[in-house]
Amino acid sequence: MAILSYLIPVSLLLGGAGLAAFFWALRARQYEDPQGDAQRILSSDYDNHPKP
């Protein structure tokens, strides 16, 4: 059962990384225009003006 002392911190770290990524996405305002983002992938323009 000693393996648990590695696995639990590792799983928590991985989950925490996911949470951190979610926070980053939230702060980078990636949830502001879900419909627009869904449509933009269809346009062939090269988007060299990311969100201000």
Partner: protein
């Protein structure tokens, strides 16, 4: 600023400057960057996004343009020299309609912040829920002694900070409810979360068997999801409503003492100011005419379709529209004292009466909260009496609280309202009030306003084809010279018939009377009966005189798209339909007969309209009012629920629960249908939640509840409630 924060249910900072400073900075930054915000009602696809962004970024002085399709807006960063008007023309050239948005009216940053805050809490509690659930699976499958204790301790280390951070909205609102000596839905929620976490922590320190950390965090997660859905629905409606308000920036032209004109916001007007009023402009404040003659369109105030002639010394009310001549006015009452504002006071009074409506969720919470608390308390007392074991009794009591916790109830209403209002939003209806759908479902009487609601408020000439070609071409030529609604109607009716206007000389308009000219050496006139010298008829009409011959051009108001269908659909559903208008009784009767409405009231003043509705309400009817004018605002807010078209005045839209975004009235019938099925769905959801409790509560009372059972019951009820709500979206 502080008011905005209070509206948003954000904690109001102890120091107003602290709250104001960041917002002020944001505004200043926006201004420094030269930010402009345009509303684009027509965009809907990837190509629209590319078109708009390409056109704007190729415009001189524009640094960047970014479309937000969800909000149907484009934000433009540009040099300070670039104005919104030139961007609007630029977009109009490639075929996109655009409007400037007043950024001060849109409190975007606050809404965004509150939404992000809730999402972050959902993220944290979701992360914690999944991890604790994984650890709990090991405990449920039989881990014991040291392993179980280790897992409980790790769960505690995750759950405690999560509950403190993520469940704060519930604690805050429960505290608010208790201070007001009420038991809302949030009091049992907070109690269950706190008791579950506290008891589990105590059990963990005592190396106990059962810990409910997973239940406490799962509860927080599901309830936060419900809260977020609720918030999103309201935020979408509010931003669209603010957008409507931001579109009309009210301004007035003030005359300075040196005779120069200046353009100022209506809010800055004072009594005694002198104003210039151009034809086509709305009167910005109550005023007296100093010089000039004209005709006023009072339809928004009184519902009358016929313009009224006014001259020096006559007083005007804010909201009327000047039709023909330029005038100089002196303001008698502005802002708080104006007629417009007195109407707003009446509306506020009527609205406070309506806010007494208790929503289904509130009624459920009111019945539910005392029962839950009594159950938990009595189970604690009974177990303590028989077992004399404090720890066991507390465990049973907290298990009862967790099992009965209104997880499903918290989702039952928001999930349904979100999917129903999303469906109506796509059909062009904006639900402004959270309980509007529930109230709409109960409607059994519909009261319509005439001018601007069932009709477009724009007259159409009916006698034109009967005129001889010569008179017709003279009428067309005369009508082109005026902005009067009847003249415009004649001009557009004639051009639709393909009439070539006659060549006239000496064309001039006499404000309040009509237009005169000379045609082939003989005088011709188009205008009021007396002035033209014809016998008047009892209908809305304009008169034409060519030489000695007199012609009457009768006009009728055109029906709004879908008006006839809506009325007949409502009557077929067994709903009582009334027509109440401020217009002349003969015109109202005419329309009522045309549409098959049995009961109608003409020449009704705003108070009369409200009284008709109040009488119906007193007889037990649930009245839906559909209206658009200022004269309807009191009636709109007296009614049980109210709808106004987007073309309505700002005050009328503010007073109504639902705004129709399109030109057609047809969505009213669909809204009634969706509202009824939403109400049914909400009640079903309550039944599902109650059913789960019926099975689980006896188990918990018997002391047989386990953390696994609690987790299963809770997720099963939440998921079935959400799925039931989604059925509304797919169902036809």
């Amino acid at each position: 600023m502080v008011d905005v924060a209070a509206d948003m249910h954000l904690p109001v900072s102890a120091c107003p400057a602290c709250a104001a400073a960041p917002a002020a900075c944001a505004v200043a930054q926006q201004a420094a960057r030269g930010g402009l915000l345009l509303s684009l009602p027509a965009i809907h696809c990837a190509i629209c996004i590319s078109d708009v962004e390409r056109a704007l970024s190729h415009h001189r002085g524009v640094r960047s343009a970014r479309v937000n399709l969800t909000l149907k807006r484009v934000s433009v960063v540009a040099e300070p020299t670039v104005t919104a008007t030139e961007l609007i023309t630029c977009l109009a050239q490639i075929g996109y309609e655009a409007h400037e948005l007043d950024q001060t009216v849109l409190s975007l940053t606050q809404t965004d912040k509150a939404g992000r805050d809730l999402l972050m809490r959902i993220g944290v509690s979701g992360f914690a829920m999944m991890n604790i659930m994984l650890l709990s699976v090991a405990v449920w499958s039989g881990a014991d002694h040291a392993t179980r204790d280790l897992f409980h301790w790790i769960s505690a280390a995750i759950a405690l900070p999560t509950v403190i951070f993520a469940a704060r909205p519930f604690f805050a609102s429960a505290l608010g409810a208790l201070r007001a000596r009420r038991l809302g839905m949030d009091v049992p929620i907070s109690l269950a979360i706190i008791l579950a976490t506290g008891m589990s922590f105590y059990e963990t320190t005592q190396a106990g068997h059962h810990a409910y950390f997973d239940a406490a965090v799962m509860l927080t997660f599901f309830l936060l999801v419900g809260r977020y859905l609720d918030f999103r629905t309201r935020a979408v409606a509010r931003s669209a409503a603010q957008e409507l308000a931001a579109l009309e920036v009210a301004r007035a032209t003030r005359l300075r003492d040196d005779g120069a004109e200046e353009d100022i916001p209506v809010a800055d007007l004072c009594p005694g100011d002198r104003l210039r009023l151009r034809p086509g402009a709305r009167v910005p404040a109550d005023a007296v005419i100093e010089t000039g003659r004209s005709e006023m369109d009072r339809s928004v105030l009184s519902g009358e379709t016929l313009p009224v002639t006014v001259g020096p010394g006559d007083s005007l009310c804010a909201g009327e529209v000047n039709l023909t001549g330029p005038m100089q006015l002196r303001v008698t009452a502005a802002g708080r004292d104006s007629a417009l504002h007195r109407m707003a006071d009446l509306v506020a009074h009527a609205e406070s009466a309506r806010s007494k409506y208790t929503s289904l969720a509130e009624r459920a919470a009111r019945a539910y909260a005392p029962i839950v608390h009594l159950l938990a308390l009595s189970s604690f007392a009974v177990w303590l009496w028989f077992s004399r074991d404090m720890r066991l009794s507390l465990n049973v009591a907290s298990a009862v609280l967790i099992i009965t916790c209104p997880c499903a109830l918290g989702l039952a209403v928001p999930a349904v309202v979100t999917s129903a209002s999303g469906r109506l939003f796509r059909r062009g209806m904006l639900i402004k009030s959270g309980t509007a759908l529930e109230r709409l479902a109960q409607v059994d009487t519909v009261v319509f306003d005439k001018t601007g609601t069932l009709t477009l408020g724009e007259p159409q000439p009916v006698d034109l084809p009967k005129l001889d070609p010569r008179a017709l071409s003279v009428a067309a030529a005369l009508a082109q010279g005026s902005a009067h609604p009847l003249a415009r109607a004649v001009a557009s009716g004639a051009s639709a018939l393909g009439v070539v206007p006659a060549l006239l000389e000496n064309l001039h308009e006499i404000a309040g009377d009509g237009i005169a000219a000379t045609y082939q050496g003989q005088p011709v006139r188009l205008g009021r009966a007396q002035w033209v010298g014809c016998d008047s008829v009892a209908a809305t009409a304009t008169y034409l005189r060519v030489g000695q011959a007199c012609h009457v051009i009768r006009c009728t108001d055109q029906l709004r798209e879908g008006a006839a269908e809506v009325v007949s659909a409502l009557i077929n559903q067994g709903i009582h339909v009334l027509l109440v208008s401020g217009d002349a009784p003969a015109t109202v009767q005419d329309l009522a007969q045309k549409l098959g409405i049995a009961q109608w009231h003409g020449a009704a003043r705003p108070e009369d309209k409200a009284r008709v509705i109040a009488n119906a309400t007193a007889n037990g009817a649930h009245v839906l009012m559909v209206g658009d004018g200022l004269n309807d605002t009191v009636a709109l807010s007296t009614a049980y629920v109210s709808i106004s078209p987007a073309s309505a005045l700002d005050a009328a839209r503010a007073a109504s629960d639902i705004v129709l975004m399109g030109a057609s009235l047809m969505p009213v019938v669909q809204a009634l249908h969706v509202a009824r099925s939403a109400r049914r769905r909400i009640k079903q959801n309550f039944a599902i939640a109650a059913g789960y409790n019926m099975i689980a509560v006896p188990v918990a009372l018997a002391g047989l509840a386990t953390p696994l059972g609690a987790a299963l019951a809770m997720s099963a009820s939440s998921i079935s409630v959400s799925l039931n709500a989604l059925r509304l979206k797919s169902g036809r």
